[in-house]
Symmetry: C2
Subunit: 389 residues, 2 copies
């Protein structure tokens, strides 16, 4: 395929590698970069995986995924998301990234238009271009004051060539959630324009606000047009395991399954068996972790409230905060680089999430608590020093 300039190396991975290189050279770095949950994979999942390994789950699985895992996912979808799906609507994938890629490959045809809310997860644009190089991407900025959806812009950019809308709430990088009203409004547009929705819900279990989670796939009138994507990575600290899933109507599943069969056969079989143990775990660990995330946000709010250079719109869920640095009069790349150089703190420049967001930086909430607090204080100090200069 033609390698589009949009398909570049993931900036967030690049920055985290830079930081880890500095670390290796003995320079003490506090990384507020990459988003891996700050706890370990729960032991029952590890033990279930070992049992599977010993008991011959080392051969190919059904390309859609083990039936027992799809049953567990089906039950979870109904109970937690009010999504009614049969196991034939579910396909297990090597992480949400693969699910996203497969869905985009299955759905996009030449010259289709895609609505993408920005700032956005760094891989969406490359994934769209990999799936369909001729696709036209319509980026729509979230509102600057509160990261909510900009309906006026959406009405303006949607058209009959629009094939799909990508949603990702709780949102990376802003931590914003969607309300039920938002989803109903979106559902109306899906019906009016006969669109598909790709709903990437990987942060749903990390909602530390008091707002309830809603899935657009639960809305009966549009559920056939919704592809729901999720993963075990963030909720169960299973980033390195590479396991996620995709829920869609049977026509989409048929195409996704064909593509997956030729690109990957199936997701690692004993990893699938291990994942079966996830939803039946005692979920105390995740509640504890959400409390920690929430405390970190409070700490940030507290430390940064008197800082004239930085404005924080506190996240409601997910693993990140998106900090407005527009008063600093420097690009996000410059800010992040100088911060790394002067204070030894790694963050991700906002420009990684869309060129219009060069006046923000992303801060990961996953760093160990004391380290995180130290990091935030240094960010605060750095911004104050720059403003004073």
């Amino acid at each position: 395929m033609k390698i589009d300039q949009d398909i570049k190396e993931s900036v967030s991975l690049e920055f985290s590698r830079l930081a880890s290189e500095k670390n290796k050279r003995g320079e003490k770095i506090i990384s507020l970069g990459l988003g891996e949950p700050g706890f370990e994979t729960p032991l029952p999942i590890i033990e279930a995986t070992y049992d599977a390994l010993k008991n011959g789950y080392t051969k190919y699985s059904n390309p859609l995924g083990l039936i027992e895992l799809r049953e567990v996912i089906r039950d979870k979808l109904l109970k937690e998301n009010q999504i009614k799906a049969s196991i034939d609507n579910i396909i297990v994938t090597s992480g949400a990234k693969q699910a996203l890629s497969l869905a985009l490959m299955a759905l996009l045809e030449p010259y289709d238009e895609v609505i993408n809310f920005t700032p956005c997860y760094v891989s969406y644009v490359p994934q769209i271009k990999i799936a369909e190089p001729t696709a036209v991407i319509r980026n729509i900025d979230l509102k600057r004051e509160d990261f909510s959806l900009d309906w006026a812009q959406l009405e303006k950019k949607i058209c009959k060539r629009t094939k799909l809308i990508i949603l990702n709430f709780p949102h990376n990088p802003t931590g914003r959630m969607l309300s039920k009203q938002d989803l109903n409004h979106l559902a109306q547009m899906v019906r009016d324009y006969d669109l598909y929705v790709l709903s990437d819900e990987v942060y749903e279990r990390l909602n530390f606000s008091n707002l309830p989670n809603y899935s657009i796939g639960a809305i009966d009138s549009v559920k056939e047009k919704v592809v729901t994507i999720n993963s075990f990575s963030k909720a169960f600290a299973m980033t390195g395991w590479r396991i996620g899933y995709l829920v869609a109507n049977s026509d989409v599943i048929k195409i996704v399954s064909m593509i997956q069969q030729h690109m990957n056969t199936n997701t690692c079989t004993f990893v699938q068996k291990g994942a079966c143990a996830a939803f039946s775990l005692n979920q105390d660990f995740i509640n504890t972790y959400k409390m920690e995330l929430s405390e970190k946000v409070s700490f940030m709010v507290d430390v940064l409230k008197s800082n004239k250079g930085l404005q924080l719109n506190p996240p409601q869920g997910g693993l990140f905060a998106f900090l407005n640095i527009s008063n600093m009069n420097m690009s996000s790349d410059t800010f992040s680089s100088k911060l790394l150089m002067v204070k030894g703190v790694a963050t991700t420049p906002g420009v990684a999430f869309s060129k219009n967001w060069d006046d923000h930086i992303r801060i990961s909430l996953t760093t160990e608590k004391d380290e995180f607090k130290k990091g935030i204080k240094l960010v605060n100090q750095f911004a104050k020093e720059v403003v004073e200069i």
Copy 2:
């Protein structure tokens, strides 16, 4: 992307599912279909994987793969394949399928031509079309008498728009090997036409002939143009693990790595750690298994030698035999279906591997020894009965 009619469900998977459904209904089926090695993943690999699981190898890895695994692969390439590579020339993938897909995505540009020897592995054509829907595939039949390369056809079909040649030796489905002379001849063409070679060597450790293995990536004058692909699946009975690797020049690796970062991040981290144990194992198990494969081939030769309907060109390596049924006066689909219905033996119709090979069927050598022998006797009986009718 546009879903080409070439991107259909893998026939070999489809047939094996049919057989397993019959099995579930209580009908006794002997499957000579899918190719999974007939032994278990060696225990030291399983134990190394469990150790990795317990010791925190559950997070993202370097997107190219764990350094320790790439070092092991580098040493293996030098020792066993005479391929000189640095760890930066190696990327670990979710199986050879993903390696093939990524390489094709990285190499193919619109309207490039690809030389593909047929019959071929069922996923090559779909993978090419997924990677680059406008690619032109030039299929070249292996010679019917001995499955060797047809140089005259190759000279005829190669042209300045040819971007790459796909090689897969030991060959699926015929079991044919390439000689050093073949590789030198191919290398000459690579230089003359400035081509890339994708060399899929997943069956190399299952060479049960007395012929040595050769890798085209070992030839200095072309090594920059060779992408070598391999996997742990066949040699270590790790089909369900989904782990393989790709060796290429640094420009290709750069593009492959970018695509992989956006589609998959990395291959399961503790699976990579487990794979580190593979090459240092005592390799007796593989020698024993090769002897078993060789005995099965001898048995087939012996049983079928008096059968006028079937001709066997014995395989030299890999997990399959490709049986000529042209004297049976029926399509391969009909032959395989009737054989399944009448004798309860599942095979894969030759048409799955290219439309020109509808007068062959593929027989897997992986079935348990006694079961295999029973199956071959039934194939023999079936063919004799049909000829007599």
